[in-house]
């Protein structure tokens, strides 16, 4: 077995680190909040800087303007960005959507969207959840009907990240009114600027806006702005789910390693002339324990990456890694709050705030992670049924 990176891959990692040294992440203006997954804030300026390096399109096939670089390069890029705390929040979404457009999109969509993604001009929101369709996504009510050369889209989406500052959304809608459940759904690419779009912010418990609710009233979407075959949107979504979940989470390990580094730094600092927290046996043991869990999480994600790269079944491993990442994140941030004591609750910028107030913010964001992208309950059911072969619970029909 070889867990290492090839010399060419190591050289690329060094190239990314050089870039980050030359362009310190904190110098880029942020235009959307950091949701704590490890991908940092939404920064269009930083996304464009990545575009200038041609890193946003490097894994695409050459005929679509890419360099056909293997998946490991993307993994290295995101890993290095996360370790540096860079604001690359929109990047996983860009990778997922461009991948989907290359696999399933029409020529019109490829021509229009891909160059914008490559430059860092386009970022995306996902329109899946609805007020009455959360874990039961197939209960969705948003629908679209063909009218000449356009789909006419009506409905309401919710919990869409960065939708108010992104440029396009991928909206799952029922396009066959006679269909039920998983058939007759289509994935439409929707331009935020179209008439009939109303994108409203939802202030989260952190005090910041990350999610939006989207009201779509007679929005006219070009007929060929559908991803894949109309009516097959859901099976397409399922096919991409392992990679979506992987790219949505795997940088949580380097992120948590960075947070742990901050906590070690804090524990080593003498407190008002007394001994540092690091001398306390319980503190040492708990921080070391967190380090072992982070190392195990990283190994599990690398296993998932390898399975995906080889095209082997990865569903169980990816879901297990997501569950572990999100629950471990909550434990590490909770440990941080405990170590910081009364300082832990002081916000960034506040007098006496420790560690730049980062623990307070990330502690709060961590409570959304076991819900977003499929709750931990959904992930565990997925592991049990799809990886371990246990029987599915009978569905209750309404």
């Amino acid at each position: 077995m070889d867990f290492g990176f090839s010399p060419a891959e190591q050289a690329f990692a060094e190239e990314v680190r050089d870039f980050l040294r030359a362009h310190p992440p904190e110098t880029f203006p942020e235009d959307g909040t950091d949701a704590g997954y490890g991908s940092g804030a939404h920064s269009r300026a930083f996304t464009r800087a990545l575009g200038e390096r041609e890193w946003l399109s490097m894994s695409w096939p050459r005929e679509h303007g890419g360099q056909a670089r293997p998946m490991m390069y993307q993994l290295i890029l995101l890993q290095e960005l996360a370790a540096a705390g860079a604001p690359f929040g929109p990047l996983p979404g860009c990778l997922q959507v461009s991948d989907s457009i290359i696999r399933n999109g029409s020529d019109a969509l490829r021509r229009e969207i891909l160059p914008q993604v490559a430059r860092g001009d386009a970022t995306f929101w996902q329109g899946y959840s609805e007020p009455d369709a959360g874990s039961d996504l197939l209960a969705l009510k948003t629908h679209a009907r063909l009218d000449g050369d356009h789909w006419v889209l009506d409905g309401r989406k919710i919990w869409s990240s960065h939708a108010g500052i992104a440029t396009y959304g991928t909206v799952l809608a029922r396009t066959d009114p006679a269909s039920t459940r998983n058939r007759g759904l289509s994935m439409l690419m929707v331009d935020n600027r179209l008439p009939g779009m109303d994108v409203r912010p939802i202030r989260s418990l952190t005090g910041q806006v990350y999610h939006y609710e989207i009201f779509m009233d007679g929005v006219r979407v070009p007929r060929d702005w559908v991803m894949g075959k109309p009516g097959e949107g859901f099976s397409q979504l399922l096919k991409g789910l392992d990679t979506d979940r992987f790219w949505g989470r795997f940088y949580k390990a380097p992120f948590l390693r960075r947070i742990l580094g901050l906590l070690v730094e804090y524990a080593n600092t003498p407190v008002q002339g007394g001994p540092p927290l690091a001398r306390d046996a319980a503190v040492r043991r708990r921080l070391a324990h967190a380090a072992t869990e982070i190392a195990a999480l990283r190994a599990l994600f690398h296993r998932a990456a390898w399975l995906i790269e080889r095209g082997l079944p990865a569903t169980g491993t990816v879901s297990a890694a997501k569950v572990m990442a999100d629950e471990l994140g909550q434990r590490v941030l909770s440990l941080g709050m405990e170590l910081l004591g009364p300082y832990g609750v002081l916000r960034a910028g506040s007098r006496w705030a420790r560690l730049r107030g980062e623990i307070e913010h990330q502690y709060q964001t961590s409570w959304g992670h076991t819900l977003a992208g499929g709750t931990s309950e959904i992930q565990r059911t997925t592991i049990a049924v799809r990886a371990l072969g246990l029987p599915a619970e009978p569905r209750v029909r309404a």
């Binding site: 077995m1 070889d2 867990f3 290492g4 990176f5 490991m72 742990l260 580094g261 070690v264 730094e265 524990a267 080593n268 540092p276 690091a278 001398r279 040492r284 043991r285 921080l287 070391a288 324990h289 380090a291 072992t292 869990e293 190392a295 195990a296 999480l297 190994a299 599990l300 690398h302 296993r303 990456a305 390898w306 169980g316 491993t317 879901s319 297990a320 569950v323 572990m324 309950e377 992930q379 565990r380 059911t381 592991i383 049990a384 049924v385 990886a387 371990l388 072969g389 246990l390 029987p391 599915a392 619970e393 009978p394």
Partner: protein, 369 residues
């Protein structure tokens, strides 16, 4: 990155799985566990013909000069079968120390270990129970007389030789003694895990200059890395045992019907099984990654192995403990194999350094002052 088993590892894994299924079924494990002097001399001879005890011994001494990866592939299978044997103590830890020490006696012993003629145990821990050279007090001089007690010595009833680590004039010093040297007495410790542990009492044991393994004062330099390899092997053993617990639980959840359907169709049981899967897989890949680091000679191996041993112990014990809940009452009975795996994991978690020791190594590695 390539996370597949090499062809040699695959062959070893397959042949080990087949052999252990045929020759060491749960009934045999049970029988050996319940017998206070249980040792499967027949199985040890058979695995010697398969070359397992010589896996880490160089070909010129009759071994096969295998890699760390092969040891992990094999020991994971030993764990999966809950195979009771002195393998990790003798064929991994003692073998690694003897190979590092070199010298005529060590080489002679390695040749005999490779063909299964002799078995070597380790007498290191004392009353503190800590695997730490600074915690060792037994005075060691050679030539001289050795007196005192070593605790938690594994398989002393089956061993022909013992490596004793004590405190010499030049610092921690290792001796290699035959078990039949006058004045060595093995007193069994009654142990719930089914492991055979002993107090090894030394009374005025005659020691000679040629008994010193390696250099005087260099005992820990030999045994530290050997125990590191042992910690890695114990991690793989726990992964294998936890994998088997997962399989037993999932199988039970599929076939056990309550309330008109298999209990594995209820979310409460499904989610418990999913957690077992997470724990087994994360422990497995952490172990293999640490094995790769050891093999590649990376600088941070101490911390990597320490983190692995601490994590695998915790994760595998979680699997065993949760497994009891999934398995229900039948898993509480002596005849069901679940408790054997649980106890094997518990024993492995304590051997080659417990969680407290390894977490302190990790604490220093992450920069805690």
């Amino acid at each position: 990155m390539d996370l597949s088993l090499s062809p040699a590892q695959q062959i070893l894994q397959q042949s080990a799985r087949t052999f252990l299924q045929q020759r060491c079924p749960p009934g045999r494990v049970q029988e050996l566990a319940l017998d206070p002097r249980g040792f499967a001399a027949d199985l040890w001879k058979e695995i010697a013909t398969l070359g397992w005890p010589g896996l880490l011994i160089s070909p010129e001494l009759g071994g096969s000069g295998g890699s760390v990866g092969e040891v992990l592939a094999l020991v994971e299978e030993l764990g999966r079968a809950c195979f009771p044997s002195p393998f990790v103590g003798s064929a991994v830890i003692a073998t690694a120390a003897l190979a590092a020490a070199g010298g005529r006696r060590a080489r002679e012993l390695l040749s005999a270990l490779a063909v299964g003629e002799r078995i070597c145990t380790l007498a290191v821990l004392e009353e503190s129970g800590q695997l730490d050279p600074d915690a060792l007090a037994m005075p060691v001089t050679a030539p001289g007389r050795l007196s005192g007690s070593k605790l938690f010595v594994p398989d002393a009833h089956a061993a022909t030789d013992v490596i004793v680590l004590g405190r010499g004039p030049a610092g921690s010093t290792a001796l290699l003694l035959p078990m039949d040297r006058g004045g060595i007495e093995a007193r069994p410790l009654d142990c719930m895990t089914g492991d055979k542990l002993f107090e090894l009492a030394f009374t005025e044991v005659d020691t000679r200059p040629e008994d010193i393994l390696g250099a005087p004062g260099g005992g820990w330099a030999l045994l530290g890395p050997a125990f590191r390899l042992g910690a890695l092997a114990r991690s793989a053993e726990m992964v294998g045992a936890a994998q088997r617990v997962l399989e037993l639980c999932v199988e039970h959840a599929r076939v056990r019907v309550q309330g008109g359907r298999p209990i594995g169709g209820y979310q409460a049981v499904q989610h418990a099984c999913a957690d077992l899967f997470r724990d087994v897989e994360s422990a497995r890949w952490l172990t293999w990654e640490a094995g790769w680091q050891v093999e590649a000679g990376r600088p941070d191996v101490d911390a990597a192995v320490a983190a692995t041993k601490a994590y695998c112990g915790e994760a595998a014990l979680r699997v065993a403990r949760r497994g009891h809940q999934i398995m229900g009452a039948i898993g509480y009975s002596e005849e069901h194999p679940l408790h054997l795996f649980h106890k094997r994991i518990l024993a492995a978690s304590l051997d080659a350094g417990d969680a407290a020791l390894h977490l302190e190594t990790v604490a220093r590695a992450i920069g805690l002052s």
